[in-house]
């Protein structure tokens, strides 16, 4: 494992998977590859975390699974977003943006703020 690759922050994996699936159905391996490609190999999705996450989201009905044939003609399980999953994605993206915005603000601050109730 190369040390340059970043571990994914806990909780963001679901968001990444949902976003990746928003382009269309994919099997597990393709999801890993897609995230790797999108981030120019910066983010590493651990397979050991990916599958439990997928199964959990299936139980929550955000995604549905269907068996299909892969590019190399193998039997593979394809995952697809459900309408609920799509809604969830929107909500998570919004939260993510406000979160990063807030974090960025803190990180970009130049001085300590004045006490509020002075």
């Amino acid at each position: 494992m190369k040390q340059t690759e970043l571990d994914i922050i806990r909780g963001t994996l679901d968001l990444l998977i949902l976003k990746t699936l928003s382009w269309g159905p994919l099997h597990g391996y393709a999801i890993v590859s897609a995230i790797r490609q999108q981030t120019d190999h910066a983010l590493l999705v651990e397979e050991g975390a990916l599958y439990p996450s997928l199964y959990r989201m299936e139980a929550k009905k955000w995604i549905v699974a269907e068996w299909g044939l892969s590019e190399n003609n193998r039997r593979a399980k394809y995952y697809n977003l459900t309408p609920e999953g799509r809604q969830r994605l929107h909500a998570e993206v919004k939260t993510w943006h406000s979160y990063t915005e807030a974090v960025t603000k803190v990180l970009q601050a130049t001085q300590r703020p004045a006490p509020e109730n002075a």
Binding site: H27, Y51, P52, A59, W67, L69, S70, Y78
Partner: protein, 888 residues
């Protein structure tokens, strides 16, 4: 993404397998990665190692995923099943609606069958099965002084001994039922009341609704003038006014103070007492040798009926030794109060239940046949669904769902039928049958209705479905729905028809026997001429009429007034009119002097005015009737009826014989038989005439007057064209003494009708049930034969093409239909031999295995079945062979 293979079929065929699914997914993942790494130039071995390492702890991940997956699968299966069932319900509903004539027929048939059972069960539940509304109803008993197997009322002395010397009972209470003259302003009526010991109500464990009941003090002589009202009397006469407590009311012209009102639940027996007064037997009354008391008891805790009976058997022998004149030949019977209350009705109601159960079974067979035909018609649909992958259980579930829907609809229809039936029964029999008024559709009855309907629908719907779902898919598709199983189905169908016909025959035979006995009873000559005769009962108060001559004089004045009325052709007085419910309850023992043999036979006594036989037109057989000269001073005479004459002096002249009536008065003079009259059906047309001894009223000692509350019936035969109404008798009493009461006023025609009312009622009900059975059976036969024709179109076509005539075809069809009918008739005749033996007790004037009835019923069934077969047979004969053959 490439197109999806038939994953769903994969799941459906082998069922979900979470372990394999997870394994497959991971294998695919690793294999793809290895391929990619090899593509990047790695060796296979290195690539595999790399892939495994990247995946992490595969065993742990696999375990987590398997657990998640199996949970997901279970959830999916559940929702899948439920939504599938929902689809079944909707689909089943549509199927039922699409074939609505069959559905309607099935629902109605089921409704009639279930409703009939529900109605009768509702009645039985209310009358027989529900416990009485008392504390510990099983412990309440009635105790009778029995002679010659007949229960009799008890003498005060015997009752006193029982109460003192026995230990089986916690309480022993007595009731003397008598008629009181209840006077309101301006009018007097006769009302039945009970004189009771103070522990009467405690025996039943019933507390008064208002006020109090009697204490032991109230029950000591002289008789206290206190009264406790029944709920019914309180409502009818005092409009349920609570201020009735403490009010004075007049009974037999004496004031009584109201101290209590009993609750409605205590009004158990129809025609029971309307109120109660203390019994308070005086020393003189204790010496009465005649029975007057009804005795009720409550068993000691832990004492069984049998133990009580054993003790009373001993008591009977003790009393026979102590008071031989009162107890010779008598035994004591301890009976369950509940059973005594219901009496004969239990038997009759269970017979009715058996009858409606037959109708129910016929209905079931019909529904089964309908559904069988429909299932056969749906073979093609089933085959296609099976071929498309529907499992057998899935198909069965579909049928089950449809049957369930049908059963529910049938139950709903049944509730309607049962409700109507129970209302009808309450109207027809409510006044005569105890507790019938409370019958209704309660949860128990509802549950039984629902259970029966659903069971019937499930059984008759699922059995054909089991067969149908076992279809050999290919064979059935090729043959277009006609498979070898069809033959077996025809056999089942024929069996159903045979059973239906058999049951219908038994039902109709039973109804026929009852109708014939009702007709026989109607044709019985009652022994008197009922037309234009009215009779009503009055009684003289004891004040002012203390001696026998006073009573006789008063009645003779009443009789004169009555005879003088315009329109009255003839008038008379009698202590009892034929077919009246009131009896003196006397079992006279005539002591015949020549020959000096004691005759134990029970004999009824009546005292009548000389004009009685002429007025009732009871023929004189021998000797003379009474004359006005038969009075206290002259020779004591009696008239006997033919039954008594034959019993006492067989083969000899009765007139001129002498007898004593020791039950009648202590100093019983020798009485000479002055005449013999023809027998009268005193106690009902279907009961043989009792032995009767008649006394002239002027020669009756004082005792019997006391026993009968100095009451007599006024009888008037009016001229044709005059209406014999109660106004006639009332106006006569008004003229003599405006406070004389009038009760039990009916024309003799009405009494006759009432005496056969229950026989008529049962034959009517059974006839209705029999006709239902016949109708259902005819519909069943028609359905089967019509179905046979529709399936045999091709064969019939071939027969016709080969030269069979139209009548030949019709014969062929009718023969097919009549075969099971004939075997059903044979079975039914055999079964009705058994059934009519059970019916024996209800029959009169007709043999149990009356061949005429059986032949008539069998002929009726054959006729109806022939019509049911003829209609489809005519259809068959109109088949055009060319079209029939081409359509195949």
């Amino acid at each position: 993404m490439p197109k999806t293979p038939m994953f769903r079929r994969y799941l459906r065929f082998f069922g979900p397998n979470p372990e394999q699914d997870v394994e497959d997914e991971f294998t695919f993942h690793l294999a793809t990665k290895v391929d990619e790494l090899i593509g990047q130039g790695m060796t296979r071995k290195a690539a595999e190692a790399e892939a495994a390492q990247a995946f992490g702890d595969i065993r742990k991940v696999r375990e987590t995923c398997r657990q998640l997956q199996s949970r997901n699968d279970a959830q999916a299966r559940r929702s899948d099943y439920l939504s599938g069932w929902g689809q079944d319900v909707v689909y089943g509903f549509r199927q039922l609606c699409r074939r609505w004539p069959t559905t309607l027929l099935a629902v109605l048939t089921l409704g009639i069958g279930v409703g009939a059972v529900g109605a009768v069960f509702g009645v039985i539940h209310a009358v027989v099965l529900r416990p009485l509304p008392f504390a510990d109803p099983a412990g309440i008993v009635t105790v009778w002084s029995t002679r010659e197997g007949r229960d009799d009322v008890v003498t005060p002395r015997n009752f006193d001994s029982w109460r003192r010397d026995t230990h089986s009972f916690r309480q022993l209470a007595a009731l003397e039922q008598s008629t009181f003259t209840f006077s309101e302003t301006g009018s007097s009526t006769q009302v039945t009341g009970g004189a009771i010991t103070s522990n009467f109500f405690p025996v039943f464990g019933v507390a008064p609704e208002l006020g109090r009941t009697f204490t032991a003090e109230d029950d000591t002589p002289p008789r206290q003038h206190l009264i406790v009202l029944s709920h019914r009397f309180w409502h009818d006469r005092f409009s349920g006014d609570p201020s009735v407590l403490g009010r004075e009311i007049h009974l037999d012209r004496e004031p009584y103070t109201v101290i209590g009102v009993m609750p409605a639940s205590f009004d158990l027996r129809p025609n029971a007492e309307q109120f109660w007064v203390p019994l308070g037997l005086s020393g003189q009354e204790m010496n009465w040798t005649g029975g007057v008391l009804y005795v009720f008891g409550h068993l000691q805790p832990g004492v069984t009926l049998r133990q009580a009976q054993a003790e009373m058997n001993v008591q009977a022998r003790v009393l026979e030794a102590r008071y031989p004149e009162m107890n010779r030949g008598r035994t004591i019977r301890v009976g369950e109060f509940a059973a005594d209350l219901i009496g004969d009705y239990r038997r009759q109601l269970f017979l009715l239940l058996a009858a409606v159960s037959s109708v129910f079974l016929i209905a079931c067979a019909n529904v089964a046949n309908l559904l069988l035909a429909r299932a056969t018609g749906r073979t093609r649909e089933l085959t296609i669904r099976a071929a498309l992958g529907a499992s057998r259980t899935r198909l069965l579930r579909q049928f089950l769902t449809e049957s369930l829907l049908l059963g529910l609809a049938g139950a709903a229809a049944g509730v309607l039928f049962a409700y109507t039936g129970i209302r009808l029964a309450r109207q027809l029999g409510g006044a005569a049958i105890p507790r019938l008024g409370e019958a209704g559709i309660d949860p128990t009855v509802l549950l039984i209705l629902l259970g029966l309907a659903v069971c019937c629908a499930l059984l008759s719907g699922t059995l054909p479905a089991l067969r149908a779902s076992r279809v050999d898919a290919q064979g059935a598709l090729v043959q277009g729905g006609r498979s070898v199983a069809g033959l077996a189905r025809d056999r089942t169908r024929n069996l159903y028809i045979a059973v239906e016909v058999g049951l219908a025959l038994v039902l109709l035979a039973a109804a026929g026997l009852l109708i014939r006995s009702a007709i026989a009873a109607q044709n019985v000559h009652p022994g008197f001429e009922p037309a234009q005769v009215i009779a009503g009962r009055t009684s003289l108060p004891s004040t002012g009429y203390a001696t026998a001559p006073q009573i006789v004089t008063a009645y003779e004045r009443i009789l004169e007034t009555l005879a003088a009325q315009p329109g009255v052709r003839s008038a008379a007085l009698t202590s009892k009119v034929p077919l009246s419910t009131s009896t003196l309850g006397l079992n006279l023992k005539p002591d015949v002097t020549s020959p000096p043999q004691a005759n134990e036979a029970s004999t009824e006594m009546q005292y009548v005015s000389p004009s009685y036989f002429a007025t009732m037109q009871i023929p004189l057989v021998q000797g003379r009737v009474f004359s006005p000269q038969d009075r206290t001073g002259t020779a004591q005479v009696v008239i006997v009826n033919q039954t008594l004459a034959k019993r006492l002096w067989p083969g000899r002249e009765a007139v001129g014989q002498q007898m004593r009536l020791p039950d009648l008065d202590p100093v019983s003079p020798l009485r000479e038989v002055a005449g013999v009259v023809a027998d009268v059906h005193e106690n009902g047309l279907m009961v043989s005439p009792p032995a009767v001894v008649y006394l002239p009223i002027a020669q009756v000692p004082l005792n019997p007057w006391h026993w009968s509350e100095q009451s007599l019936y006024l009888v008037a035969r009016t001229r044709t064209g005059t209406v014999a109404g109660p106004e006639l008798l009332r106006s006569v009493l008004q003229q003599v003494d405006s406070e004389l009461p009038l009760g039990d006023t009916l024309t003799m025609d009405q009494r006759l009708a009432r005496s056969i009312a229950s026989a008529r009622f049962y034959s009517l009900v059974l006839t209705i049930l029999g006709l239902f059975g016949l109708l259902l059976t005819a519909a069943g036969i028609y359905g089967v034969v019509a179905y046979f024709v529709s399936r045999q179109r091709a064969e019939i076509g071939i027969r016709m093409a080969l030269g069979s005539t139209r009548s030949g075809v019709m014969l062929y069809v009718v023969r097919q239909g009549m075969q099971p009918v004939l075997s059903g008739i044979a079975a039914g005749v055999a079964a009705s031999f058994l059934v009519s033996a059970i019916l024996k007790a209800q029959l009169y004037g007709v043999a149990t295995n009356d061949p005429l009835t059986l032949i008539a019923v069998a002929a009726l069934l054959v006729a109806v079945a022939s019509v049911a077969c003829y209609l489809p047979a005519r259809q068959a004969s109109k088949i055009d062979p060319m079209i029939a053959l081409r359509s195949e």
